[in-house]
């Protein structure tokens, strides 16, 4: 009862935020809508018994990444002329149609799925920090370390690309 009551509104928030992001001309507004959407998504994560991921979602995405976005937007100091005007081109028409068609196809596929409900019983500590931590530092240690290298490289790369002159 509670799951359904929480899921559908939060799903609506997530989708609404996403739609708001796509519809807003000003990227700052878009970013704000996206943050909204991320909050909705994070709530749904909680429903999926992924507390750690939900927390990370808020911290990394809504916090770090989106702040970075907003920083960049501010840094670039765009004015009214730089805002795009909606135009209908073959690209937008086909792109929109493709996205729509994708959604419809997936919707059709999912509506054909057997009406499987989520199991109510979950293992002890499912989605908790400790169990996720054991998983990541256990079997997933190599990808984890690789990710750390990736982040390092990305950091250096970002500096190199963004700096006017080294």
């Amino acid at each position: 009862m509670t799951e359904a009551m929480l899921f559908y509104p939060m799903a609506l928030v997530a989708i609404g935020g996403a739609l708001g992001m796509i519809a807003s001309r000003n990227p700052v507004h878009g970013a704000m809508y996206l943050v909204l959407s991320f909050f909705g998504i994070a709530s749904v994560y909680v429903l999926l018994a992924a507390e750690l991921i939900a927390a990370l979602q808020i911290i990394v995405y809504a916090g770090a990444i989106m702040v970075l976005f907003v920083f960049v937007i501010m840094l670039l100091n765009l004015n009214e002329d730089d805002l795009e005007r909606p135009r209908l081109t073959p690209g937008t028409i086909f792109g929109g149609a493709a996205a729509l068609a994708f959604w419809m196809i997936s919707f059709m596929v999912f509506s054909d799925l057997p009406d499987q409900t989520m199991p109510t019983e979950l293992p002890e500590g499912f989605g908790q920090v400790a169990s996720v931590g054991r998983l990541i530092f256990g079997p997933f240690i190599v990808p984890f370390e690789s990710t750390s290298i990736l982040l390092l490289v990305a950091m250096v790369g970002a500096i190199v690309v963004a700096k006017p002159r080294i």
Partner: protein, 102 residues
């Protein structure tokens, strides 16, 4: 019927993916395009977590963890590129950036 079926989570994921996809394809502002990509990553995460929950295994959560990490890296590099772009070309319009190599 208090629980939500798996299909609905997946549908939410696909809907978010579609919206992100639309942003990627339709919008011309590189930043918004980029946000669309972020949204699509989240949609993927949604699917991971939904199946993780459905199958009672945590591997999906680990995957989602990595996706977030990679998304962070990608955002850093992508936004750096955008800064470079504005500095060199003075535009964020992807239509005007069509020289794939220089």
């Amino acid at each position: 019927m208090g629980s939500v079926p798996l299909a609905h989570y997946l549908a939410l994921g696909s809907a978010l993916f579609a919206v992100g996809f639309a942003a990627l394809l339709v919008r011309r502002n590189a930043l918004v395009v980029f946000m669309g990509v972020e949204l699509m990553l989240n949609a993927a995460n949604m699917t991971f977590l939904a199946f993780s929950r459905a199958h009672q295994t945590m591997s999906g959560q680990a995957a989602a963890f990595f996706v977030i990490a990679v998304a962070a890296a990608e955002a850093a590099v992508g936004l750096a590129i955008m800064i470079a772009l504005v500095r060199n070309r003075n535009t964020l319009n992807v239509d005007e950036v069509d020289t794939l190599k220089y």
